[in-house]
Symmetry: C2
Subunit: 226 residues, 2 copies
Amino acid sequence: MSAMLEGSTEKRRRRSKAEQRAESLEQILDAAEYLFSKNGFYGVTLRDVAERVGIHTTLLHYYFEDKRNLFDAVFERRAGVTCGRRMAALEKYEAEAGDHPTVEGALHAFLDTDLDLYFEGGELWMNYAAFVARVSNTPEGAMMMKVHFDPVVLKLISILRRALPGYSDEDLFWGYNFVTGALMNTLGRTGRIDRLSGGVCHSDDFPAVKKRIAKFMAAGFLALKE
Amino acid sequence: MSAMLEGSTEKRRRRSKAEQRAESLEQILDAAEYLFSKNGFYGVTLRDVAERVGIHTTLLHYYFEDKRNLFDAVFERRAGVTCGRRMAALEKYEAEAGDHPTVEGALHAFLDTDLDLYFEGGELWMNYAAFVARVSNTPEGAMMMKVHFDPVVLKLISILRRALPGYSDEDLFWGYNFVTGALMNTLGRTGRIDRLSGGVCHSDDFPAVKKRIAKFMAAGFLALKE
DNA sequence: ATTATCTATAGATCTATAGATAATGC
DNA sequence: ATTATCTATAGATCTATAGATAATGC
């Protein structure tokens, strides 16, 4: 659990301070990410985080000042990556689709890109997904999304608007509300679907979700036409 | 804020102990429900609850033993009502639809009944909705749903199964995963949709959701057919 | 005589800071 | 000489309990 630092060819090279710093920061963020995703901001103590990393609590203050700052840092670390990827995917789709973008095409770019990132990114990215899902469900969390996530969402909406001429913005935004709810409920991986389905579905099975979500949601949008 | 106790014809009737007890319990649960919905289990202190009610912290222990118990009591108080209503609505629909239930019909019974209850129930029921949305997003919360909510959900699934012959259980459960995600994201009322849409949509506007959600989700299910 | 509510307080825990020690940097 | 990490500790806060007081019940 703490042997992940090895990977270099040399057998015990002295770590430079910059490396030490970087490694400590990463380990702290990983631990905090996991714990916050499970128990939320107030459900995690700095001691929990420190213990998980195997360091002293005060080191958290040394690196991150205070708890809120650590929380924000967890959010920030990967927000740019996921939003950047999705924005790129949307722009790519927009360029390819030319004058006739489809709802399903836009949703594939928006949703699949994200699901792939988390699923292929391994445990740590899955933790981040759960972290975001949990955060997005809170009043303060919903505000944190604004800076990084809003541009991507508004880009999606702008494509949907062209794909669905005649639709009101109200329809588009409520439709998005459904889409993001479905996505967040997936990313949270609470295990509810596993128990509910008696083992037929698994919370971790993002490929199963990816196979269905864009198609499902696209049909939903189309059905809003009166 | 504490004058809601009046409503009787007499102008200052001595409250019986049973009444006192009932009123205190209600006020405590209302306050706890609101605070937990905003900040979650760990984000609320017993002192917060006591202050909101205007009583002393120890009274919370007198009535509810400990914090976890209070939390559970908040969950329990209204769970039976909402689940009972939805179950009745599903059974009624099932009887009416006879041999040919539709996805949209089942979803109207399942979703609209709930949205109506919260919207027409006023502020306190809206708080409960947000409480459930928040709770459902956590690992422990997802387990709490089991007792009360699973039977209703499984009833819905059983109708969907008849409405969608040839569908795998995997399709049905993942579809439900999307439906409940969309619903929970609505019930949470974090204000995100308001800011995102620049004021076009309002988190509190359940009628706007009710107008769209069943139709939207029904079309989604139908699109899963390969 | 019983039940509702408050006072006083224990004991644990939590965030945060000041300052010491140990490691790397030049 | 600088940076990473630990020791010691302050001060606040939180849950919970024991026991006192005030109100209703018969």
